[in-house]
Symmetry: C2
Subunit: 350 residues, 2 copies
């Protein structure tokens, strides 16, 4: 399968680009032999880098672009002035069918704006959402939207649920993932109108989905459901709160251990266990956010990522191409839309 | 000072009430000698419990009430049918000036509804907010609203900022706490209208407050600011996400340590350090959420708390009474309101 897959890569996006991009691709290729990469960026920088990785070079087609979208560029400006950027060319390659998916560690807003402009949204989907995997007590879950849509109505949340379900089925390999809507309580009457209406629609749908109901912030880490649906404001805050809490805990644990000799010696003896713990929550393992709802695979790698993180983002893109995610979403959403019109949105009013 | 303070206590609220309430009061009294408690609840249950704590008993006035507001009671129903409940009597004692503050571990919605009805909001404050301390890398911060107001406009957020600032000054003992509004990015143009307008107002105010600007989810744990202002939906999700992540990490660390002999032995040797880490993040140390904006001190202890957590909630109530928090908020808000009218709300439109 992987022999036929081609990914287009924005080599210039990310704080540590292009070095970490090249190194990350080399790591990914070892796990995904036969994958082809079309690499966009400044050839005078990239060509010498590629020379160090002969195996990768054999699978890379380098295409020159002068322009780079900066990490500070506003989406609208990037869209207008970045027509010859590595980011734009990399997305175009998917739009034109040359590549099966694109990966970039550049600025999220600009990437989303360009990807939406070039690839368009899927039929019936109003707004794409950013989805990512997160670690839980039971394994992993998918959360969306992580920041693409600051304000969401019930219809948007329902679309996120359907898309997130297909994503979870493919990436988590669960035949029937459970879906929860993030809220301030689990009772039916809790929350704002959007979450109440969205829940009412999902409760009544005849689609074969497993709607759990409302979940709360602590359910993310507990792994109560496989798919967490929320608006982009709440999702972004929740995601970054998880990151911040993780940093706080890791930092404080280290502080306490290093404060005494007993702590230091204990930590040394338990090092393999502590390393296993670190690996389990290594944010690089969760690198790769998917722009769901676009007519094409577009993966955003973390702006500050290194080669290992970028490698994971590339592997995610590869997996989603293999699993034909876009077709899955198209089919599910078409089925959902056809039966969904029988449910009036205001049926959820309380 | 503490000789003169009287707190009214709802002895029947919380999963482990009334045992943990009595024990918690006994612990609190040891640190706050001279404090008087008016204890509301079923005397046939409470009197025998009190007998075990003679020192406490000498400082407790027990008042009988038959009714108890259940943990599932809807706020509106509790307000109507709970007129003779321990919760209502305890709040009344503050309203009637018998007690300086009230502490309850009962259902948040019912407690807020009753406290608002009996104590009323402060002049100029539309809606009370729930505020609590949270651990950070630099110490502690105050976050509000944690769930009282699902939807908030700019005006509400500004009120939370002013109230949170006074709270932080009193509880964190910082002369000029910095304030941040929780958002999906730190740039001025990020976020929804409410946060943008609130930030514009706080940027322009001539009040002597230190407005930092926008903060993101990871800034909570980093301790970037002393006061985190947000709407009740986002704040509740963020708070519970922190709790969930903490549980996930603690659980996973234990799992990895217990998996091997090296892990177990290392953990044993480092036990004092690990215990110090645990104590530092013990949620019971952060028990006690303040209903800010009411004309009286009302502290909500966690529904599932034990004696130590309840003791912390009582100590918080005591501290806020001592510091005359309500007068501080009244003064600051009056000053803010008088100058605030010169700033049109729509000046923040972008």
């Amino acid at each position: 399968m992987s022999q036929n897959i081609t990914l287009s890569i924005d080599a210039m996006g990310g704080d540590n680009a292009p070095d970490m991009v090249i190194e990350g691709l080399d790591m990914a290729l070892r796990e995904l032999p036969g994958t082809k990469f079309i690499l966009f960026g400044r050839s005078e920088v990239l060509a010498p880098l590629l020379e160090k990785f002969p195996k990768l070079s054999a699978n890379v087609e380098l295409r020159h672009s002068d322009d780079v979208v900066s990490s500070e560029e506003k989406p609208g400006i990037a869209l207008r002035s970045g027509r010859k950027s590595s980011m734009r060319f990399a997305i175009n390659a998917v739009g034109e069918g040359e590549a099966d998916g694109v990966v970039s560690a550049a600025n999220t807003g600009a990437l989303m704006a360009m990807a939406k402009f070039v690839l368009k949204t899927l039929p019936g989907i109003d707004r794409p959402a950013i989805a990512s995997l997160l670690p839980t007590m039971r394994g992993e879950c998918v959360m969306l939207d992580l920041g693409a849509n600051i304000q969401c109505d019930a219809e948007n949340l329902v679309q996120f649920a359907v898309m997130g379900e297909v994503f979870a089925r493919n990436v988590l390999h669960i035949s029937k993932p459970s879906i929860g809507i993030l809220n301030v309580g689990t009772e039916v009457l809790k929350g704002n109108d959007s979450v109440k209406q969205a829940a009412a629609i999902l409760r009544e749908t005849s689609l074969p989905i497993k709607f759990h109901g409302f979940v709360e912030g602590d359910d993310i880490g507990q792994g109560t459901v496989d798919v967490i649906v929320t608006d982009g404001f709440t999702g972004n805050v929740a995601l970054k709160t998880i990151e911040g809490t993780a940093k706080l805990f890791a930092g404080a644990l280290k502080q306490e251990l290093m404060r005494s000799w007993f702590g230091k010696i204990g930590a040394l003896i338990a090092k393999p266990a502590i390393d296993a713990f670190r690996t389990r929550f290594d944010p690089r393992r969760y690198d790769g956010a998917m722009f769901l709802g676009l007519n094409g695979i577009c993966i955003k790698s973390h702006g500050g990522t290194d080669a290992l993180g970028f490698c994971h983002a590339v592997k995610l893109a590869h997996e989603l191409v293999t699993d034909e995610l876009i077709d899955g979403i198209k089919e599910d959403y078409a089925r959902f839309s056809s039966e969904h019109h029988t449910i009036p949105l205001n049926s959820a009013d309380t």
